[in-house]
């Protein structure tokens, strides 16, 4: 099914939804006592746009054969996927509080067989791109209409297997595949430019035969438009470089690589985070109303 253009009214609705999802992320991470904060907050707008507009899927029937597939390659940001899935109706929001606890379906990193709707086990970085390529090739072989999406981190681009996959996908001209990189410029040891410079990232993928587009990863309209464009591109896979602010919406986390791998540590930090998100809600409303 083609992706429809998104209208302003829906954009506004999704921005509010994204803010609610961010609150869920902060609460579930605090409850879990471990996990990553910055990446999930930074990618909430992308996930909201995907699950509430772009993907052809049925939350009530997660194994529906014709569904679009989404592979989360940088598995550590999965709190955003879980929270978005719960908000989209895959499972009760209450279950988000079980994140990382014994017996939970919400494993610390994504596990395919733990939770219907998770398409691939991931965590060790880099391999999700190849997994997504395999799905896209299967769809091509079987002449299926569904599309494969892959979410990756920017730090993840350090992994050699990413470039094996990038070369292979370019060779196969896999236009059935849309990849979104979370370009938030941080990784565990610091800024990506210090740890392992990636630029010129766009030119790298272009050199491998990809269609590449840079967008504002917090702009729902740009996210949807880039996915729509990817749908129409022939003979080239699409790489959407989503420029994001890690920790987006929680002021004391924004752009701080220290928040890459930890949750809000105290009730005070949690309430500060939730306060910031409420304020962000106000900002969103004031910009559009």
């Amino acid at each position: 099914m083609p992706i429809h253009a998104i209208h302003d009214q829906k954009v506004k609705t999704l921005e509010k939804e994204a803010n609610e999802i961010r609150k869920s992320i902060m609460e579930m991470l605090f409850e879990a006592g471990s996990g990553h904060s910055a990446g999930p907050l930074g990618m909430t707008d992308v996930f909201t746009a995907l699950y509430f507009h772009v993907l052809d899927h049925k939350p009530e029937d997660p194994f529906w054969e014709e569904r679009d597939r989404l592979v989360l390659s940088n598995g550590h940001i999965n709190p955003v996927q879980y929270a978005t899935m719960a908000h989209a109706g895959y499972f009760p929001k209450e279950e988000l509080k079980t994140l990382r606890k014994m017996g939970t379906r919400l494993q610390g990193h994504p596990h395919r067989t733990a939770l219907p709707g998770v398409e691939a086990t991931s965590g060790p970085l880099g391999s999700g791109l190849g997994v997504a390529a395999g799905m896209a090739i299967a769809a091509r072989m079987d002449k299926k209409k569904w599309r494969t999406y892959c979410i990756m981190g920017d730090g993840e681009q350090n992994e050699g297997v990413v470039w094996e996959a990038a070369m292979f996908i370019g060779k196969e001209k896999l236009n059935e595949l849309t990849v979104i990189i979370d370009r938030n410029n941080i990784q565990i040891d610091g800024f990506t430019s210090d740890v392992m410079p990636l630029e010129p990232l766009r030119e790298k993928y272009e050199a491998f035969g990809w269609h590449v587009v840079d967008i504002d990863g917090h702009n729902i309209t740009e996210i949807v438009d880039a996915c729509r464009k990817a749908d129409s591109i022939q003979e080239k896979p699409t790489m959407i470089i989503a420029n994001t602010i890690p920790g987006y919406g929680v002021e004391f986390m924004e752009d701080k690589f220290e928040w890459h791998g930890k949750p809000p540590g105290s009730k005070e930090e949690l309430s500060k985070a939730l306060h910031d998100l409420r304020t962000l809600g106000g900002r969103i409303n004031s910009e559009h109303e």
């Binding site: 999700g128 190849g130 395999g134 072989m141 070369m167």
Partner: protein, 341 residues
């Protein structure tokens, strides 16, 4: 021909112990034929290869089913990941390379995107990726130690849910390939490079997870796999003339281990020698030892490389140098018989 009690139900070749006249073939030829056979039976069978298509005998499948063959280039890690994606969309994906690279180099991709990704699958939703490692063991020969995987069985059998098969000859390799295509879940199948004696026939039964007693004996059990099965038969034949009655078992499936057949045998013989072209650490011998120590502690001697790397040379010379020759199996039998007393 001596008085060895050969299991007739296995339909082995008639002149089994005529080592000078026995025909030889590469086990990977069986893999190549097995791929074509599996591909004919099931249109969801796909084959991926990392720039070793002819060498792994994947080219017969490519010729027959070009639309189902995927060349990934020299990129074993991505080959494993891509196969995982294909499998989760319903394909049965074989990935072909040398064992040193796959499952050597891509071990983590196999662990995460194949084995763990499969773990807990509902029936019908398994990750059907079959890893085929060619050129395993010192019998790779002149290419030397970099290409002589001696740890691949150990790497694969510690992954939960992974089936591990080491066929003994070309027919068994073909049957194992077809059987793995039909068996749900991930698997590893291993081949050597050299040509090995063809002692089974097209009519020899094969079932994954079922060890076959080739010769019945009462003094000692020899459980072997891969090219060492035939060497074990040669050793048993020579020992028979010295009055030692060996029960030789083709233990092709390392996992799931056919503990029952091994147990039944050692309860009778009270001693076992395991023989494989692999490091004695972590391979089939270890699997047997783990099983017996928990169920029926039995004196055991191990034939295999002794925690060292291989080197260049002629395959038969290397079997001797690395103490995996017929004479070494015979010596191990005598050692274990001494311990049994």
């Amino acid at each position: 021909m001596n008085n060895m009690k050969i299991n007739k139900s296995l339909n082995l070749i008639s002149d089994l112990l005529n080592a000078d006249k026995i025909e030889k073939a590469k086990t990977r030829d069986g893999y190549g034929k097995g791929l074509v056979e599996a591909g004919e039976k099931n249109e969801d069978v796909v084959v991926l290869c990392a720039d070793l298509t002819e060498s792994t005998r994947s080219h017969w499948f490519r010729e027959k089913f070009p639309e189902r063959f995927i060349e990934v280039g020299i990129a074993e890690q991505n080959m494993a990941a891509t196969a995982s994606g294909l499998a989760s969309a319903g394909k049965v994906a074989f990935i072909s390379s040398y064992a040193a690279f796959s499952p050597g180099r891509n071990n983590e991709q196999i662990r995460t995107t194949i084995s763990y990704n499969n773990w807990g699958s509902e029936k019908g939703r398994e990750i059907n990726v079959k890893v085929a490692g060619a050129h395993a063991g010192v019998s790779v020969g002149r290419d030397g130690a970099t290409h002589q995987a001696l740890e691949d069985v150990a790497l694969m059998r510690v992954q939960p849910g992974m089936t591990v098969v080491v066929p003994a000859d070309v027919h068994e390799a073909q049957k194992a390939t077809v059987a793995l295509a039909e068996r749900p879940g991930p698997a590893y199948i291993r081949f050597g490079r050299a040509a090995y004696p063809i002692f089974t026939t097209e009519k020899t039964p094969f079932e994954i997870g079922k060890a076959y007693v080739i010769t019945k004996g009462k003094d000692v059990t020899i459980a072997a796999n891969g090219p060492l099965v035939y060497k074990a038969l040669q050793a048993a034949s020579e020992l028979e003339e010295e009055g030692i009655d060996c029960e030789v078992i083709n233990n092709h499936t390392v996992k799931p281990l056919d503990g029952e057949t091994i147990l039944k045998s050692v309860k009778k013989t009270g001693a076992i020698v395991t023989a494989e072209e692999h490091n004695i650490l972590g391979g089939m011998g270890s699997a047997v030892a783990e099983y017996l120590s928990q169920n029926h502690p039995t004196p055991q001697e191990f034939i295999g490389t002794r925690d060292r790397f291989g080197e260049s040379g002629d395959p038969e010379e290397l079997f001797e140098k690395f103490e995996m020759g017929v004479s070494h199996i015979k010596e191990a039998v005598k050692r274990v018989l001494d311990r049994k007393k």
